[in-house]
């Protein structure tokens, strides 16, 4: 990969990589670390990207995914592979549902999903991945992805019910 190619890849995908990491981790600082590592990996071992196996974007998000899970593991937080347990919403300062903006409430609801469910929602809703693409990225069956997405939506519906009127009126 030439430096021009790398530059182009960076410019084209940096926002997606960063946004994905941010939505998964809920931390701008971690997201930046992860995004950096993701691109440094591409720089060091560009041959790992095989165009025959998918788009560069999907590849980078796959790398990002590994980095995010790795981060969780190293943080020794809750087990990221636990399918069901809700995560405590990240500390959002003093803000309660009443004072947080809509975006922050959505963010907090997404953050409280179990990681695999959160991942399904983030990839589907924000990154525009199809179920097949998510399945291939996460190494899960399509049916599994579907059920994660379903459960995630159920939780989000519940969590966001109080704010939805404000959103749609």
């Amino acid at each position: 990969m030439s430096s021009t190619d790398f530059r182009r890849a960076f410019d084209e995908h940096k926002n997606a990589v960063y946004a994905y990491a941010l939505r998964m981790t809920g931390s701008a600082e971690v997201a930046e670390d992860v995004a950096q590592d993701c691109f440094v990996q591409l720089l060091r071992a560009p041959a790992k990207f095989d165009p025959a196996r998918g788009s560069l974007r999907a590849f980078l998000l796959g790398v990002t995914r590994n980095l995010v899970f790795r981060h969780w593991r190293e943080e020794s937080r809750l087990d990221p592979m636990d399918e069901d347990r809700e995560w405590p919403a990240p500390d959002s300062g003093e803000g309660s549902a009443a004072t947080l903006g809509l975006a922050a409430q959505v963010a907090s609801a997404v953050q409280s999903l179990a990681p695999l469910q959160r991942e399904a929602v983030v990839l589907f809703e924000y990154e525009g991945f199809t179920l097949d693409e998510i399945a291939s990225l996460t190494g899960a069956e399509v049916g599994t992805v579907k059920s994660r997405l379903h459960r995630a939506r159920e939780r989000l519906r519940r969590a966001l019910a109080p704010v939805r009127n404000g959103a749609f009126h």
Binding site: K14, Q36, D37, A47, F69, L102, E125
Partner: protein
């Protein structure tokens, strides 16, 4: 747009709502970090910390394991002393190795290994290699799918990769959320398999197990294997380990745990090293057994890279149909294929008949300065760090230097240590490490007192290596 509160949101409405969360674009600082400053991200910060210790071990060409527990995260300026790797040669030290293995409780200190020569060797034949450089025990329960870093620059997926994507067995807890980590009370060293020794295979087995309420392990599962019998050896050893069980609400509970067992052969290592060897025998077939694995003279490549080669072992035990899997470095790949083509196997069989079996091997090429001379030099005997460590009578813990703390300097300092016949440290020199930290490590280690090592009843000088790990909490 109006709707009833009692009516659940449709998927579309939920999508619209979710889109209110705009993550924004990547910050400008990201560009500087990727292109210019190269400040290490968390991955690099964590991943490479232990490499200096491994590399300096090579220079002396020998190694038996030391092990370490995860550092205690709450401590400020935590200093962890890790003794490390040498590989001993010949029968004289064989007894020491046996004594080291017979050592009992690590934490409780209830069993004293006693004079090292008192334990007769139970190993027949060659016991020239201490099996590991290091066993790290790591209680997590994360995704065990190989991440891009697990195998350094080797592409994935590896055949036979097992992934944990399932919930733990019923009634088994995971650490966290009020469930405490199990602790290691007593361990047993894994042995090296003969095949792995022939092939000079070094690698890491990742095991998953359930630590029962009674402190024993069960439900073993090799998540990521090294191959050539080492995974079986790892399981066999860990089966004998005893743990302090994980606790929840004051009661012992079964907890899912993962353990990494690192196998490192450091003896006579050339630049090429086999790091993983996996066969994919067809259903019902037994895999081939490696019988000869010569490493030809190095071609002098300067790259440090890993390559993966797939091939088949035919009915005569000859490797054929090589295919490089790396797409990265064709030159190293063809060198690796050159090495493999000289290897021979006892063919795989099905129903007693030889069959062709596919295999995938990983090699790493490290451009090391030739260091094999050290192995044959006479003089004091070399002793594995762990064995030496078990003989420390008085261990002065290094002070964390204030300036290093202020500058948040961390890392491993490796020292080459000579222990005199009287057990005092007669010489200690820095092999690697940050100079400020090294000074502190030297000052402490020079004060250590060891139980003298006896050879045929007479005290002898001993060379060993001590690794001191300086880590700061976040």
């Amino acid at each position: 747009m109006e709707f009833n509160d009692r009516e659940p949101m449709t998927d579309e409405q939920l999508s619209t709502l979710l889109r209110k969360w705009d993550a924004g674009g990547a910050p400008r600082s990201l560009e500087a970090r990727v292109f210019a400053e190269r400040r290490p991200g968390f991955m690099q910060r964590h991943k490479w910390a232990l490499i200096p210790a491994a590399v300096c071990g090579l220079a002396i060409a020998a190694g038996v394991g030391a092990w370490l527990l995860r550092p205690v995260p709450q401590l400020q300026g935590h200093v962890e002393v890790v003794t490390a790797p040498y590989l001993e040669h010949g029968s004289a030290v064989e007894t020491l190795a046996a004594a080291g293995r017979a050592q009992g409780s690590q934490q409780g200190g209830t069993k004293d290994p006693g004079p090292t020569q008192a334990q007769p060797s139970q190993q027949q034949g060659r016991q020239q290699s201490g099996p590991r450089e290091r066993v790290s025990i790591d209680f997590f329960s994360g995704p065990a799918k190989a991440s891009p870093f697990d195998a350094k620059p080797v592409p994935e997926p590896f055949p036979q990769e097992t992934r944990i994507d399932a919930p733990p067995p019923a009634g088994v807890y995971r650490v966290g959320n009020g469930v405490s980590s199990p602790g290691l009370l007593q361990k047993k060293e894994p042995e090296y398999s003969e095949e792995a020794r022939i092939a000079k295979l070094s690698g890491t087995t990742l095991l998953q197990l359930v630590v029962s309420e009674d402190g024993t392990g069960r439900s073993f599962n090799v998540i990521r294997g090294v191959g050539l019998g080492l995974d079986e050896k790892a399981v066999a050893a860990v089966q004998a380990w005893r743990f302090k069980p994980g606790m929840k609400d004051g009661a012992a509970v079964p907890v899912l745990a993962s353990i990494e067992v690192n196998f490192r052969l450091l003896e006579n290592r050339g630049p090429w090293q086999l790091t993983r060897a996996i066969f994919n025998p067809p259903a019902g077939a037994v895999r081939p057994i490696l019988t000869a694995a010569p490493y030809p003279a190095d071609a002098g490549s300067t790259e440090n890279e890993s390559v993966r080669v797939s091939f088949e072992v035919d009915e005569n035990g000859v490797p054929i149909n090589f295919k490089g899997q790396t797409r990265g470095n064709p030159k190293l790949e063809s060198e690796a294929i050159g090495i493999l083509s000289g290897w021979r196997f006892q063919p795989g069989t099905r129903d007693g008949k030889p069959v062709t079996v596919p295999a995938t091997f990983d090699f790493t090429h490290n451009n090391l300065e030739a260091s094999s001379g050290a192995a044959s030099s006479p003089g004091p005997i070399r002793v594995g760090g762990e064995i030496a460590s078990s003989n420390v009578i008085d261990k002065v813990v290094p002070q964390y230097p204030r300036e290093a703390k202020a500058a948040r300097i961390q890392g491993v300092v490796s020292l080459a240590v000579r222990i005199g016949k009287d057990g005092h440290v007669t010489n200690a020199t820095v092999i690697s490490g940050d100079p400020i930290l090294a000074q502190a490590a030297l000052e402490a280690v020079r004060q250590w007192l060891y139980r003298p090592t006896l050879l045929n009843g007479s005290p002898v000088e001993v060379d060993t290596q001590v690794d001191v790990n300086f880590t700061l909490s976040k």
